[in-house]
């Protein structure tokens, strides 16, 4: 026990400052602007592997480590889509996962956000589209933000998630004029 405590004290707090949102990752402006006001920064994420090579999952795991520490930002990974505000989906969507992905999406309560992860989630990546692969996540469910990369770094992933839950900067600047 003493060794455990000593190790905790020795390491201290290693968490780094999170990145800023990046508007370039946004592909769709959700009608539900209220979702962002409701959520603030308390966000429940359900991760869905819809056919990935598991490379993206390794980097999504890293979001939870002490350096990126997403829990400190109020972001939590949850076990059921029924508890989730946002789906973090890796691709390409295999045809065998199509039904499971649609059902997961339907089970997530409205309003909801979807972030597609990785080159494969964005466009099918090296696997493309074929007899067993449907390619991009947006071919199956509506997507708000796309984070490309093979795999995307945890910093990019965090940027994507933060972009999804912050109001579109362009839109909010335009709104008063219209």
């Amino acid at each position: 026990m003493l060794k455990t405590l000593r190790q905790i004290a020795r390491v201290g707090i290693v968490t780094e400052t999170p990145p800023a949102p990046d508007e370039e990752l946004r592909v769709r402006e959700t009608l539900e602007r209220s979702i962002r006001q409701m959520l603030g920064r308390a966000l429940c994420i359900r991760q869905v592997d819809a056919g990935s090579c598991n490379g993206c999952e390794l980097e999504i795991h890293a979001l939870g480590n002490a350096l990126y520490n997403v829990e400190a930002l109020g972001i939590r990974f949850v076990a059921s889509p029924r508890h989730a505000d946002l789906l973090l989906v890796t691709g390409p969507v295999s045809r065998h996962m199509e039904v499971a992905l649609r059902r997961t999406y339907d089970a997530t309560p409205d309003p909801k956000l979807v972030v597609a992860v990785g080159d494969c989630g964005a466009c099918g990546g090296v696997f493309g589209e074929g007899y067993a692969s449907l390619g991009a996540v947006s071919n199956v469910i509506p997507v708000d933000v796309v984070v490309p990369g093979c795999p995307p770094t945890p910093t990019r992933l965090l940027q994507g998630i933060l972009t999804a839950i912050t109001a579109p900067r362009m839109a909010s600047a335009r709104t008063p004029g219209t």
């Binding site: 060794k3 090579c53 795991h61 295999s94 696997f127």
Partner: protein, 500 residues
């Protein structure tokens, strides 16, 4: 057959297929991979890679009279069962074995069409999810728990059907194939010089092992000898991949035993390795590092210093944490005697790789069939005969520390001033190469056959998970349901590498 060192080829008649398998089994050999080809330009062909005590061999058999039928060998090598079922789904090659349930085919293509045997694949109409004929366990108080394909965590998808009494598991049956995305057919649409990129994404956590195995096959069939420095750099990348994965697993195993401290400590160390890899070799995960003929980036003196510093401090930290794991009675209690696979069962079922070494199956390609530079590096083989979660944790600690030592040896003795890549000539139509590399999970194989004009006729990547998934079903028997995540994690098998 060219590629991996020490690999011999044996051609047999289809009618002698069983006798050949039997001879291998009697001599203490085990099945690594089995796959089918055709009908393309030639007849239906079945190949298997076997690991024998003094090397490895590829057996080839061609179908008689063009009939796609071969004798089944699942009674000799239980691991063959699912490989044969996959071969039926993808190529339409039948065997005489009794289990004829589809394995990789769920609903993406119709019965009677075969993705690897037909040039034009009719697009299957959307089909309802098919019922799978799980084996039912009946008796007083027996009930089923169905889990997946979407699991309650950041994990790949698959379905597990538990038959339980109370909290005790009587039987587990796996249903995989959810992440089947047509990788083998995709290879046929990929130029042979670009195939390493796809190979590196068969199972993302073993990217270096796959890319190396692919390139080894490609280089073998074209008679290419890569520069020494390139081989050493590949070994450096492979060991860094092993270190990163073992660190992640050791953390997750602590977490699954209720010791969150372990997860936060080990993930911090893993992040350190990934950042050092990025600084030294340009990528956190080295999935585009190995290229045909060599490697993509050279290691600078500064990069070497970064890795030297990282591995030195890591050795210290890992030993400190191992001490804490060893002395923590709660963690030990969860690990000890959980998910045991005794050596006798492991040998009979053909357990391989890291999990195999924890159950007395002492085989490591780096030691037993070393390619360059492993003959010079002489890695220490780690092993145990306990076969429980504790043994698989201990193997990870041992191999992690050994890999840290190897990285330092590589950094100290890497041949300097050598090119890092050489040109690979065009592969002649019809040549076949096989690559074998010991990834962190176990032996990874890539069998490559060239087509005309720089195309791939057939490429079959094989993940050690295919051999070990069926053994996991045995490891859980008699354990309690809440221990399944821990046992599953101690194997940490790939879904993507299995489903292809």
């Amino acid at each position: 057959m060219a590629g991996a060192p020490g690999l011999s080829t044996v051609t047999v008649e289809a009618s002698d297929w069983r006798d050949a398998a039997q001879d291998v089994a009697v001599s203490g050999g085990r099945l690594l991979a089995l796959w089918g080809t055709g009908p393309g330009t030639g007849p239906y062909t079945v190949r298997m890679i076997v690991l024998v005590p003094d090397g490895a061999a590829v057996f080839v058999a061609r179908a008689e009279h063009g009939k796609p039928a071969f004798p089944g060998i699942e009674d000799i090598f239980p691991a063959a069962s699912r490989m044969q079922r996959a071969m039926r789904d993808l190529n339409g090659i039948e065997t005489t074995d009794p289990d004829t349930r589809p394995w990789l085919r769920h609903a993406a293509w119709s019965p009677g069409t075969w993705p690897l045997a037909m040039r034009d694949l009719p697009c299957a109409p959307p089909q309802p999810v098919q019922n799978y004929d799980f084996v039912r366990v009946e008796g007083d108080g027996v009930h089923e728990i169905a889990v997946g394909p979407v699991h309650a965590g950041i994990i790949e998808p698959g379905h597990f059907r538990f038959s339980v009494v109370g909290e005790k598991v009587l039987r587990l049956e796996e249903r995989l194939g959810y992440v089947h995305k047509g990788i083998e057919r995709r290879f046929g649409e990929t130029p042979i010089r670009a195939g390493h990129r796809l190979a590196a994404r068969v199972s993302g956590d073993s990217a270096v092992a796959y890319a190396w195995a692919y390139c080894q096959a490609h280089e073998g069939m074209t008679g290419t000898r890569i520069p020494d420095r390139a081989a050493w750099l590949r070994a450096l990348a492979l060991e860094l991949e092993r270190i990163a994965n073992h660190l992640g697993d050791l953390g997750a195993l602590g977490n699954d035993a209720g010791f969150a401290f372990g997860l936060s400590q080990f993930l911090r160390l893993k992040e350190g390795v990934l950042r050092a890899s990025e600084r030294a070799l340009g990528q956190r995960y080295l999935n585009d590092f190995v290229v045909p003929g060599g490697v993509r980036t050279d290691l600078t003196r500064q990069g070497a210093a970064t890795l030297q510093e990282c591995t030195e401090s890591l050795g210290l930290e890992v030993r400190r944490l191992r001490d804490i794991y060893d002395e923590h009675s709660g963690v030990r209690d969860r690990f000890l005697g959980t998910g045991t696979v005794m050596p006798e069962l492991a040998t009979r079922l053909g357990l391989i790789g890291l999990a195999g070494r924890a159950s007395g199956c002492a085989f490591d390609l780096r030691c037993d069939l070393p390619c360059e530079p492993y003959a010079a590096l002489a890695p220490r083989k780690c092993g145990s005969t306990d076969g429980d979660v504790l043994a698989r944790v201990a193997i990870r600690f041992d191999e992690l520390l050994e890999s840290l030592r190897l990285v330092q040896v590589i950094l100290a003795h890497m041949p300097p001033d050598d090119p890092i890549a050489t040109l690979v000539p065009d592969a002649a139509d019809g040549t076949v190469g096989i690559g074998l590399i010991e990834g962190w999970r176990g032996p990874v194989a890539v069998a490559l056959e060239a087509g005309p004009e720089g195309t791939i006729r057939r490429c079959h990547p094989h993940d050690p998970s295919c051999n070990n998934w069926p053994v996991l079903e045995h490891a859980i028997i008699g354990n309690i349901v809440p221990d399944f995540p821990l046992i599953n994690k101690s194997f940490n098998l790939s879904y993507s590498g299995h489903d292809l």
